[in-house]
Symmetry: C2
Subunit: 578 residues, 2 copies
């Protein structure tokens, strides 16, 4: 197993850092900070944690990423899906609002960071490949729906029960009449304001003649504006006394130094959630990182990203934070705002640190409903129902895996849903490869090329049967191939030769070798010789290690054309004349 050497990607860009890069980064950092303040508070609340924890998680990780990350524009910090997964993971071990809950969150960040680091050093980034695009997309959609339903408890000011999305939604509807009117008015107005400004404000401001950059800053500042206005109103009109829940006292300090709980029992209980959080966070981060890098013909190094994200999470766990990763929306904003190096992240960290030090007292009267509205508007943009239509038409098995992920996540929670989706997509893939497509092929007249007899007008021989096996030969499909060959031989009475065209056989394992030997013996007993053609180098190398080729009744041909030329020249001559 190859092991990565430690790298410091910062060295690649810091030498050419200049005044122009600095001012680009500073503008991007300003915009991202405006966006991150409400998001960090809101996602901490989503994770069941006090709001200041969101700020803590948005400082040290960004600094670490500057040194270790390979994406120039990835914006690390709390994100919606990982916060939801964090809440699900901690919920079983501590009660929301307790000090123990926070400690478990710190421990979760530690475990997730350690796992990412180990995966990075052992170059296990490929593990993320087993989350198919459709499963990830369905999982994010389901998470967004779950988050939305949960936030509506806060927006309506009611206590609806249910981990299951459908039960929770039903309870929300049943209990909606008991909503707290002022909270609903506040929350829904904020949702409306954020939704409309997100959709129309920037273009309207540009139409009014504002420069695009300034319109952009104003657009991105809307959640902060919403926070300012609703906090001001709640303070001025004493809405807290009227029953609107507010954030309350937030300590005014830099992140504290913390340590994870050294509790092996807790660790083993958190192993699976930490692994899922790590992998999901990594996939989200790498996807957005790769997309944004490709735009500028840059590359990111997935295994180094694992190391960087691992260090980010470890730093979060030692500074009172919770699991973080590269956020999709925030990174896109960072790139669009002109960030050119991860130094922009460092400046964002300074902005958040200043917020923690100076601005927390003004958050006392910030209504929970405002934060919930921020979350709802942010996550609803993650819902992608189109994908289900596409996969239904393109590849049914992707659709099934995505649907199982969606339903599993909505009804059984994030961990179970994700595990179901990944398992099903792997199982469906294995099922498909265990039922290989085997085509009888014939010569395309005037060429040396062979194609499926049922799809193309081709020339075939009575004495030579050419079969193309469209799959690697491995334990799951060897019995099927034996069956198919038995059946083919039974319907071709004049047969003297079988040629297996192996152009699509990429691998042969020990079970398949046994099967090939069985097939060869059965054919020989029936007076038929077995030949191979177009065997690839790696497969030939492997077969050469066994006695199979030595004992083969037929030959191995470089091309199927040469095989037919040798075994039945008359048919080849007929095809050439045609």
């Amino acid at each position: 197993m190859r092991v990565s050497l430690p790298q410091l990607p910062i060295l690649e860009w810091v030498r050419t850092y200049n005044h122009s890069t600095f001012s680009s980064d500073l503008l991007a950092a300003l915009i991202v900070t405006l966006m991150l303040i409400p998001q960090s508070l809101a996602y901490a609340m989503l994770a069941g944690l006090p709001p200041e924890v969101g700020l803590y998680a948005s400082i040290a990780p960004l600094v670490l990423y500057m040194f270790l990350g390979t994406s120039r524009v990835l914006a690390v910090g709390p994100v919606a899906v990982v916060s939801l997964m964090t809440a699900a993971a901690i919920g079983e071990h501590a009660a929301v609002g307790t000090h123990a809950y926070w400690q478990v969150a710190i421990t979760l960040a530690f475990l997730s960071g350690a796992m990412l680091l180990v995966m990075g050093f052992l170059r296990l980034g490929f593990l993320a490949n087993f989350l198919s695009h459709s499963v990830v997309s369905a999982f994010i959609t389901a998470s967004a729906l779950l988050i939305t339903a949960n936030q509506f408890k806060t927006i309506l000011g009611i206590r609806a029960e249910g981990d299951n999305f459908f039960v929770l939604t039903k309870n929300l509807l049943v209990q909606a009449s008991g909503s707290h009117t002022l909270t609903v008015a506040l929350g829904m107005t904020t949702v409306g304001f954020l939704f409309l400004t997100r959709k129309y404000l920037k273009s309207s401001l540009i139409k009014l003649g504002l420069p695009s950059a300034i319109a952009d800053i104003i657009g991105k500042a809307c959640p902060v504006i919403a926070i300012g206005i609703t906090t001001g109103l709640t303070w001025g009109l004493n809405w807290e006394a009227a029953g609107v829940k507010v954030v309350g006292f937030v300590p005014q300090n830099l992140p504290p130094l913390t340590t994870p709980l050294w509790d092996l029992e807790l660790w083993s209980a958190l192993l699976v959630p930490a692994l899922l959080i790590s992998v999901v966070g990594f996939v989200e981060s790498v996807s957005v990182g790769q997309t944004l890098a490709a735009r500028k013909r840059q590359r990111i190094e997935p295994n180094q990203e694992l190391v960087a994200l691992g260090a980010c999470n470890l730093s979060a766990s030692f500074t009172g934070g919770f699991p973080v990763t590269g956020g999709f929306a925030r990174s896109v904003v960072n790139a669009d705002s002109g960030a050119r190096t991860p130094a922009a992240g460092f400046m964002t960290a300074i902005g958040i640190a200043l917020t923690s030090l100076l601005l927390t007292p003004v958050l006392f009267y910030l209504p929970h409903a405002t934060l919930a509205a921020t979350i709802v508007v942010a996550v609803l943009s993650l819902v992608d129902l189109q994908m289900f239509r596409h996969t239904w038409h393109f590849a049914r098995s992707d659709f099934y895996a995505a649907a199982a992920t969606l339903i599993g996540t909505l009804t059984m929670g994030v961990e179970t849903g994700l595990i179901i989706g990944v398992s099903l997509s792997i199982a469906l893939h294995l099922y498909r490869t265990s039922q290989p497509h085997i085509a009888e092929v014939g010569l395309v007249p005037g060429t040396e090329h062979f194609r499926n007899v049922t799809r193309h007008k081709v020339i075939t021989s009575d004495t030579v049967l050419c079969l193309r096996i469209d799959e690697s030969l491995y334990f799951a499909n060897t019995r099927n191939i034996e069956d198919r060959l038995n059946a083919e031989v039974a319907v071709h009475p004049a047969l003297q030769h079988v040629v297996l065209q192996c152009s699509a056989v990429n691998d042969v394992d020990a079970s398949a070798l046994e099967s090939l030997e069985t097939i060869e013996k059965r054919l020989k007993d029936a007076g038929i010789a077995l030949h191979l053609s177009e065997v690839k180098g790696p497969v030939m190398d492997r077969l050469a290690k066994s006695d199979f080729l030595k004992n083969l009744s037929g030959q191995v041909f470089l091309t199927n054309y040469r095989a037919l030329q040798h075994l039945d020249p008359a048919t080849v001559a007929r095809a050439t004349v045609l």
Copy 2:
């Protein structure tokens, strides 16, 4: 999902049943009965059950198999590996020797039968394909070693502890000095007798001039002879009083009518063991069935075998038995002895029924050590260490999976060992397919054929890069393929066209489609056109359902040769001249 209609394979052979078939079957039944009496008693003991349960399990299942089985010669009944798995499964729920233990065994047979039946009706026989040959072989070897170590407790007459093979073996050696001398003498003599007669008796008798058939019967009767002699000695010399453990009272009756326990909690605890017993039993049964059928150019129908084995196990559970399947050694003996139809099994059932009714009183003084010796000699022939050497040379991943199965089974028990082996073989397969082999190919001079540039002397073009992807495109390998293409493009400065030769691409899923679209866009941005060649019918059908082909910057060519001919005629002309 296709569902099997009920079938009655008996109809295929019963109409042509005649005197000659009858006498062949009768002789085979006689030999198999002689073999089955000691085995059924011994395997019941191995499963932790009273000896008569072994007889019960060898009556009704054989009758059912006659009606439903598709193998002409499969001998159903208790077998060593399944008996060991039965003991492991029940051990957690009841104490050996209690009535509850027997009831759990009956329930296990019921669940296993029901599962097999459902798998048969839903045509899920392919599930057995996921047990690779190497894993099955390693599992059987490990089971045989575990069984042998356990039987040595009985042969030495000591109580050594340990589920772990190595711990148990160590304890056996440590405590060997406390062995019961008479039991050891009896047991080891029996082992020696059985081993020598198994190996040399038949050939010696033939040399002495006996007809082969009679020599065979005498050879097969040796375990019965050993039972007769040791039982007689124990009775005559009053060895029971000297401390030799004997079978004791065995009820003299036909199998009782029994029902499984209707206890949902127990059922859910037995689900995994029952599934593993079903799959392992099915694999053992189908392997020997297929081998023996192929000898006579017959075929067995795996999904109908599931139905037949399911019915056999259900009948076992309603007649006081325990899980059964088609036994390897016994079926080979049945075939070699001339059995021509499953009626031989029916006659064997009559033989065992008569034994239950008439002969059980003589089993009182049968020593446990004799039965243990019978088991040891039977299972040691299942040990196959050669396989490890073969797979080490041929396919390292098969070796790893086999080694993990062996060590897992020996140290953590049959269920864990088997699950480890199957999971590892699937994981290794997925890992391999997630790292696809991608070869740059060039034209073999004088042909229309393309091969790997690093292995063959071929002609390549400066402006056209031909890459052959040696794997189906699916979620686990799409990111690798993107990476590889990015890297290839970076090292070919004059590039204008990339042709992906898809002769080994058997499938494209939704994740891979997204990746192809990403690749196409990136190449287009770099001024390079993407072409495909040799796309197979099923893959082409699927791509046609998306917008990919519509937006493709290049073309789809029937052959890679035509692609190069069209994109760079000069290079093709050069190759033809050579």
